[in-house]
Symmetry: C2
Subunit: 435 residues, 2 copies
């Protein structure tokens, strides 16, 4: 059946947990589920987050089942008393909980392997609403389950992402494909961009973002990265690649990839492809730039290593930055950034090195060197070059954006692209780049 | 009025954006809003995420306003055509959009300061539902607004967290306080813990987690960190500190803080308090441990720096790990971890140094050294000590948990606590610590 055009399903998602409703934990499951199912051509109607409360879960489940063809829930399947999804599902179905013998045996086996007596509370996890089918959990101890409610197929999965994700893949994705009669994958294309303000980017592609068009173009922003999405459904699917190409053309070197990828993983791939090695010398980012390069499996072929030179003495000891330079210009300056990059390149024997030194805040700023001021330098076989940026936002935003900016400058260096975003005279000084 | 007992309000949250519904972006606003309002003693009923669609937003808004005393929405206020919150709010109210002159003037001024012509689409942001009151945005260009719908007070805020957060604080928090007649802050207490499996921890405090109790105890987990929350409302609020103390007593040295704090920020604070300096030598974590220490403003007083020794040559060049040691034992071994820690301590002149070397996967594993195997070492004035862990999960989980484990070993060293979680003989070998 695969490949034949299917009926796109309407899917609702429910996340449950007091820790979510009270803001103590962030729900990442919804984004993962929505991305996967949207990519398969289904329509995700929305997400609802409810507390650990069987009644609230049952209410949300009934409402979602009335709107949607399928409902996916996550969380509330753990061993503790505050896990109420089993009870809520049973309530919505109007049935009792019964012990599912294979799941109970599996739980006992897991604890035997650990060489530990099983805490009796763990058996709660083997109780399922009568009539529900268990979904096996290969990673953790709590089984999931599925059942029909009204016209909707309901899948209850555990909350930990590394347990949820394989169960979604193994059970929910094939079930939805069958239910849809073989849904055709939608053409979702992306452009990843760094350095332009969102509204400047949006103006450049305003005509393509018009809502009257069959191909839908949208943007999402995070730490200086703008991801442009291009999606056409039905007959418009064939139009999407043309729109995608046009966006790439208009954004030029400010677009760093014709797909959705982080600056770190993209750069690591680029360096591996070109056979180049890299090192990082980081002060205010304290290792974030190197860590983001290492997000790509196999990054060790390109990333030799780095130095976190947080303290001035570390800049001297590990990178050979002359003490006199630090005294004269201060740690946040072009000469020090350049000396850091040269030192990292030399000491690690890398083709290229990037350096970041700045004031992440909230303290440490001055009138001449305000919070958010960051100097970057790249050292390579053809010499060393530096640039400054003024990044807005709090400590975490400044550090995250600075790490991405460092990676983007390396990328521009490797690709021979201009360092200043927004080719042409339309953009003001560097200070406004990140607004 | 502050301090007088108020009526806890029921609050609903709505996030809008195609990028959220399609899983291209994660909504962090809900967690931030829920945490803040729960901390003020209000009850957050839940969150709903809807696409960029005026009708869907209007439907969600009406449903939320019917259930809640107050509704906070985020997103959909930007300048582009796919921002539909203004239209949806006007639809729910049954009014037209009208230009808000002060907001239009403010937008024009922002672009004048940038020295750029304002893209005409930006003026969309100054159109508000007739009768709504503008909420000033000090950080970005899109104003928010508020209005009454049925009996509920509705606040529409922009999506970018650094714009949303100050508007929540300045406008929503005081408005809810007035509405509630001065709500009493709830007693929400926390214990942060690292190293125990969640179900083992839950067994230790099972009686306190019983749902029949007036003081509610819950847990949330992430990268090996377990956060235990303790909350009593109304008359039970006075009981919470006693329960909190009892949990701290039972968890002993596995609890690293009597509040909610990350392992990195907690350790940086601890080192500053004790006047100790630290350095990190990281292979598979590639800078994450150092970067997490630097999350604390002022961490530079304790974190001298670190070395990302991803490549074997970097381990030798920057940390002085003997080549022969690498050849004989391999990079993922006790002798190399110890040599890395000693090298970082010596070269950075720190009181303590931690080293991490492991196999993050998905490739690179073997039968003897499987994916997830990580060696840690801490070097200090009294010598060097190492330990291994077998961490489950994917590359990102292994790296994140390994960074936390490194920080926790430093913490245990500074506090003189045992390195192996679960004091007493109840726990098996190290391999199961992180399950």
């Amino acid at each position: 059946m695969a490949g034949s055009p299917g009926r796109p399903l309407r899917v609702e998602v429910i996340g449950s947990g007091d820790e979510l409703v009270r803001g103590r934990s962030r729900d990442t499951n919804f984004a993962a589920i929505a991305e996967r199912l949207t990519g398969l051509g289904h329509e995700v109607l929305g997400n609802r987050v409810v507390p650990d409360d069987g009644d609230a879960f049952a209410d949300a489940l009934r409402a979602a089942a009335a709107r949607a063809d399928a409902v996916v829930t996550t969380g509330g399947l753990g061993p503790t008393e505050d896990d109420r999804t089993r009870e809520g599902a049973a309530e919505a179905l109007g049935v009792r909980l019964v012990e599912h013998a294979p799941s109970a045996r599996r739980l006992a086996a897991v604890w035997r392997r650990r060489g530990l007596p099983m805490p009796p509370s763990n058996l709660r996890q083997a109780r399922l609403p009568r009539g529900a089918r268990a979904i096996r959990n290969e990673v953790g101890s709590a089984p999931g389950f599925r059942f029909l409610l009204g016209g909707a197929e309901v899948f209850c999965l555990p909350g930990p992402p590394r347990e949820m994700a394989p169960m979604l893949e193994r059970e929910v994705v094939p079930a939805l494909r069958r239910l849809a009669g073989g849904a055709a994958p939608a053409r979702a294309l992306f452009v990843s961009c760094f350095g332009l303000p969102e509204s400047v980017l949006a103006e450049r592609i305003a005509d393509l973002m018009d809502r009257g068009r069959a191909v839908r173009v949208g943007t999402a922003v995070g730490e200086g990265v703008i991801t442009v999405s291009v999606q056409g459904t039905g007959a418009a699917a064939r139009e999407a690649p043309r729109v995608h190409r046009e966006i790439l053309r208009r954004l030029g070197p400010d677009a760093y990839a014709p797909r959705r990828v982080s600056p770190g993983e993209n750069l690591a791939r680029l360096l591996l492809d070109r056979g180049l090695t890299v090192a990082a010398a980081e002060s205010c980012t304290a290792g974030l730039a190197a860590a983001r390069l290492a997000d790509l499996p196999g990054a060790s072929g390109a990333l030799l290593g780095g130095v976190v030179a947080y303290d001035d003495a570390a800049k001297t000891r590990l990178l050979g930055v002359p003490r006199a330079l630090l005294r004269k210009h201060g740690a946040v300056s072009a000469p020090v950034a350049e000396a850091m990059a040269r030192g990292a390149r030399r000491r690690l024997g890398a083709d290229l090195a990037v350096a970041v030194t700045g004031i992440a805040g909230p303290g440490g700023g001055s009138a001449r060197k305000p919070v958010g001021l960051v100097w970057f330098a790249v050292a390579g076989p053809e010499g060393t070059r530096s640039i400054r940026r003024r990044l807005p936002g709090d400590r975490s935003f400044v550090r995250g954006t600075a790490a991405n900016a460092a990676l983007d400058l390396l990328r521009r260096t490797v690709e021979g692209a201009p360092w200043v975003p927004g080719a042409g005279p339309a953009l003001p000084g560097l200070d406004s780049n990140q607004e």
